[in-house]
Amino acid sequence: MYQYDAFDQRLVEERAAQFRDQVVRRIDGRLTEDEFKPLRLQNGLYMQLHAYMLRIAIPYGLLSSTQMRALAEITREYDKGYAHWTTRQNLQLNWPRLEDVPKILEALAKVQMHAIQTSGNCIRNITSDPYAGVAADEVADPRPYCELLRQWSTFHPEFAFLPRKFKFAVTGGAEDRAAIAVHDIGIRVVRNDAGELGFSFLVGGGQGRTPLIAPVIREFVPELDLVSYAEAVLRTYNRLGRRDNKYKARIKILVKQEGPEAFARQVDEEHARIKDGPLKLTREDVDAFRRFFRPPIYEVLPDDEPALAGALLGKQRGFSRWFAQNVVEHRQPGYAIVNLSCKSKDLPPGDVTADQMDAVADLADRYSFGGVVVTHRQNLVFTDVRKRDLPALYAELLEHGFATPNFGKLTDIICCPGLDYCALANARSISVAAELTARFDELSQVYDVGDLHLNISGCINACGHHHVGHIGILGIDKNGVEHYQLMLGGSSGTDASLGRVLGRALTHDEVAPAVERVVLAYLSLRATDEEPFLETYRRLGPMPFKEAVYEPHHA
């Protein structure tokens, strides 16, 4: 992974020192709250319902075991012993005290981390494919490009006060595991007909109040133009994006109003001016960044691991289920990608205790070259596990609460913190997730249902990605009472689509039974046992599901 140089290190240390001084001045009255607020937000410090919240950046979700242990220690020392993985592959602390935050930033700086670009109208933490570097369907590892963009965007003076926040996602896989179509800029690594590497640029997607699927504005941007083309997009947006109305300020509104072709022409004009300037990458630049992400030294192993076959054939039913659901093919023979589920009935979705973080760090060292990835689905991934180690790893994951065999299933719920924590939320989301998890926890039922993504947001800002859940749930406030809209048909994958509201909003207690009726309707309507929910919905449309939810006696 990328290692800070002296410049990077000085930057995060100075930042922590600056914030220490800013906190002192706020507490002793030299800074007003209005003066202090933008400073704390630029360091990821929000005010929530009951406490401050600190959002820690995890660039493209990648953590070393050393960093994971530091996060565990911070969570234990300065918070209540648990934290929350977010849908931007970040970590949130829920209860830090103001005077402790500079100490946290200093502790983060010691392990090459920070809380920059986790708030404000800047380029936010860049997200990527959790299987980056090991996916079998990958054109090229996206992480060197993510790191290039991270360094370009951090403290970019021109883009510190954009019209609104700005989110990048980058993938190198044929399958989209990074939800690139619902980002301000989604980048797919591709090869052109000549076999050269480059990027397809999707611009103007997003969720929130105005959900939109991003159009492709440039099919092929040459590899060495990555940063200059991104700069051209940002400059065009910075110049033309609306600043008079925050609800119309995201780039998706601009691209929709201008039209993708007209917007792309303006980007091209800007790009023509700057593309051969200082932002033009050299082959040496790209190679230098690639070297940070070289594959580990794999053992030469047979792909057909006898011990594994024995475990799968034996009576270890739990292991077999977990293997079938949470383990993914690796491109290196004898190795596997392992998804660690952070979705169990014991904790809110995406939550993790400090003890669990320590356990993950230890397991990463012993089983996966000391690395772990945080996913936008709020789980963790070990990217490089020897297949022969899978039974032993499973036993340890089970002990530490990461072995729920539900990856991609109904109980693998994406869920924002909702009204239990968040100052923006209109309704609770964790309690809805808990009821759904309890209802669908019966594994046999989960297995009958197949892959089904259920996403819950506590408000229109869509941190829980409800627009792209196969089943999406949106919390709203109706006259002071929590209600929920049910949406069906969304997808964040390669076939990205936005869910449609099914009908009238439901009360808190109506949600879980309604989702169950949707699932039961799907099971009775699917053409074959293998037809996924999304295909059934796309084939039949909303009506049979609407009848099942709102007129169950007639369905």
């Binding site: 507490i27 009951h50 209540k80 012993g81 103001l98 205790t353 003890d355 209109n426 964790i430 406030d477």
Partner: protein
């Protein structure tokens, strides 16, 4: 009937603050000053804005009385008023032995 009080978050830890009649701050809504009209509450809000050494972003809060208890009108404010303990209990953290040292 809509009544009014003044609320904010404490500067030190972000915890919920309600203004009392004696112009001290409390985390317990039941001890808060409650006025009959928005106009009654406005001077207290103006005073609260000068309390930045203790609190952040004060605002007026709509409440009602139910069986003698002060109850916020919105779900958001009801959860705020319940306090973090209620949230932690609801989320299951108070039952996790490894967190007993920290939670609460």
């Amino acid at each position: 009937m809509t009544l009014w009080t003044v609320t904010a978050n404490h500067l030190s830890d972000g915890s919920v603050a309600y203004l009392r009649a004696d112009r001290a701050w409390t985390q317990d809504l039941q001890h808060a000053w409650v006025g009959a009209t928005e106009a009654d509450a406005a001077p207290l809000l103006a005073w609260a804005r000068g309390q930045e050494h203790l609190i952040c972003d004060p605002y007026l809060l709509e409440v009602s009385r139910d069986a003698g208890r002060v109850v916020p009108l919105s779900a958001r404010e009801r959860i705020r008023a319940e306090g973090p303990e209620a949230t932690l209990a609801r989320l299951g953290y108070e039952r996790r032995p490894e967190l007993q040292r920290k939670v609460g």
